[in-house]
Amino acid sequence: MHLIAQTLVDGLVLGGIYALSAVGFSLIFGVLHVINLSHGILVLIGAYLALIFSQALQVDPLLTLPLVMAVLFAAGYPYQRFLIQRAVNQSGLGSMLLTFGVALMLQNVMIWLFSPDMKSITPGYAFASFRVAGLTFDAVRVSALVASLVLLSCLAMLLKFSALGRVIRATAQQTMAARLCGVNVPHVYALTFAVSAAFAGAAGIVIGIILPFSPADEALWTLNAFVVVVLGGVGSPAGALIGGLLLGIVSTLTAQYIGPAFPNVTMFLLLVIMLLVRPNGLLGNAFAASR
């Protein structure tokens, strides 16, 4: 009983982080209908930037969050506006391959800059933990989870209440109608991408403080994001949260009870079943139809 509870708690903590790492991917998919295969790279850039900034400024890695998000926001806008935008109107394969090409290039650049070795960010409270009702909580993981939930709520509020959020939702629902109402669609696309990139970077920091990372991990984070989006539904922070939590619980339960080598198998079985049974994800059809 205790083991199950501990596994579930670990799964939920991991799931919150999966959710944050997928929310940007989900937003881009929902609004631009682009599968951003360079998403994992954006996450890793966030992790490496946090490593550099926290060492250079001698601050806690979570405090570098605004800086990292600003850098990725600034990089994401031109990346979408001048590169991906050219492939948006081609078939889905075009933008997919374009972003994959960028991912390969950036992965190579990161190997040159940071070496292919595993790196990790260790904040001062790295080994602290506390116990509540017999369950162990790592301080690092809990702070990562809290950061994830706060950021997800911020994004949800941004989309729901701000003018920018309204324009983004309008563009996602009916691009043509939004354009007729005077929305500058390429600009909104680029802003959406920039926001998503900033959240990917934030996810990178959170991932960086709980797990070691290397440039080769990018495919893993892209795939995770895809699975989360399929499970939860496209385009909404709530969908990403549900999908992320589900993925986190499933992978820790599999690792605990079936074998540490099998989380991917159950993950993809779940993915395929989900695509067949409820292709719009658990929270369904948040924005336009996705297939």
Binding site: I35, L97, F100, G101, L104, N108, L223, N264, F268, L275
Partner: protein, 318 residues
């Protein structure tokens, strides 16, 4: 492909067959890689190009075929090498056919990017199971007996074998393209729902194309495993193969018969010959090539040439 194209292909093949006599071993190996890639590309294009179901996970069939063949050949170690290879090919093909038939129903209901990523998942799952189920010996590795006769250098033997296999795959794909079945696949690519409404048995056609593509890929995987001599999970279930199969078609011309052949030749030439010494640069160069392709020539080399021809024909008419 018309009749004189067929003659041209056979002529080229005859010329290529003489390659190992004239080329140094390094280039025979590069040629071997090109022929293998081209054959894989054509096998992929039966589903991905004709029917428009771009798979990101065909390495699953390479791996499953290779391991099925290896495991059965160990049981019959006394057979002469040629018969062992033949048995490996048949077993690999059969197991891939069964796997493809088993996953065809759920997975072919997905379309576009969802199908692509689900296939990537299939490839990862197959690799993981192969690696972790001890009976399949994925992490330990499998040995393949040498099949080349003593009088022939192994690289020349496999070069000719790939050439033969590539021709066979190309002819199969050509026959499919010419048939009613092929026309049905193209109609699925253009508009699946309309095709179905007009009476094309889309489900059956998709499934058939998927299984044929899987069998051919699996058999090529068997030959590949023999040419390596020793395989582990990592050497056959490769994500770069998964990607390259898409890139071959994209580079040469999506949906065309010769596109993957041209694309495979170009990509292998670029990565093995031009960048052969710059290993650190491979990822970057492949990525850059992808970006340039998508932005500058979305139709691939063949699409580019066709567009250029069309423009040249149209100019005097205006």
């Amino acid at each position: 492909m018309r009749r004189h194209h067929l003659l041209l292909v056979l002529g080229c093949a005859a010329l290529l067959a003489a390659g190992p006599l004239a080329l140094p071993p390094f280039y025979v190996r590069v040629g071997q890689m090109m022929l293998y890639s081209a054959a894989l590309g054509v096998a992929w294009t039966i589903l991905g190009g004709f029917a428009g179901y771009a798979s990101f996970g065909h390495a699953a069939f390479i791996g499953v075929g290779a391991f099925a063949a290896g495991l059965i050949e160990v049981q019959f170690a006394t057979l002469p090498p040629f018969l062992a290879l033949l048995m490996g090919l048949l077993t690999g093909g059969a197991v891939c056919a069964i796997l493809a038939a088993a996953i065809a129903y759920p997975i072919l209901r997905l379309r576009g990017t969802f199908f692509a990523i689900a296939m990537l998942g299939v490839s990862h799952v197959c690799a993981e199971l192969n690696n972790n189920v001890d009976a399949l010996q994925g992490s330990l590795g499998l040995n393949f007996p040498p099949v080349a006769p003593d009088s022939v250098a192994p690289e020349a033997f496999f070069y000719e074998l790939y050439l033969f296999a590539g021709l066979a795959v190309l002819l199969i794909a050509w026959r499919i393209r010419q048939s009613r079945f092929g026309a049905g696949l193209l109609s699925i690519r253009e508009d699946e729902d309309t095709a179905r409404m007009l009476g094309v048995p889309t489900e059956r056609y998709k499934r058939a194309a998927f299984i044929i593509s899987a069998i051919l890929t699996g058999m090529l995987g068997v030959i590949y495993a023999h040419s390596l001599g020793y395989i582990t999970t990592d050497s056959v279930y490769r994500d770069d193969t998964n990607l390259n199969l898409v890139v071959f078609s994209l580079l040469g011309g999506m949906g065309t018969l010769f596109g993957p052949v041209i694309g495979a030749g170009l990509l292998v030439f670029i990565t093995q010959v031009i960048l052969g010494r710059l290993l650190d640069f491979h990822l970057f160069a492949t990525g850059l090539l992808l970006v340039i392709l998508v932005l500058a020539a979305p139709g691939g080399a063949l699409g580019f040439i066709r567009g250029w021809r069309r423009r040249r024909v149209q100019v005097p008419a205006e």
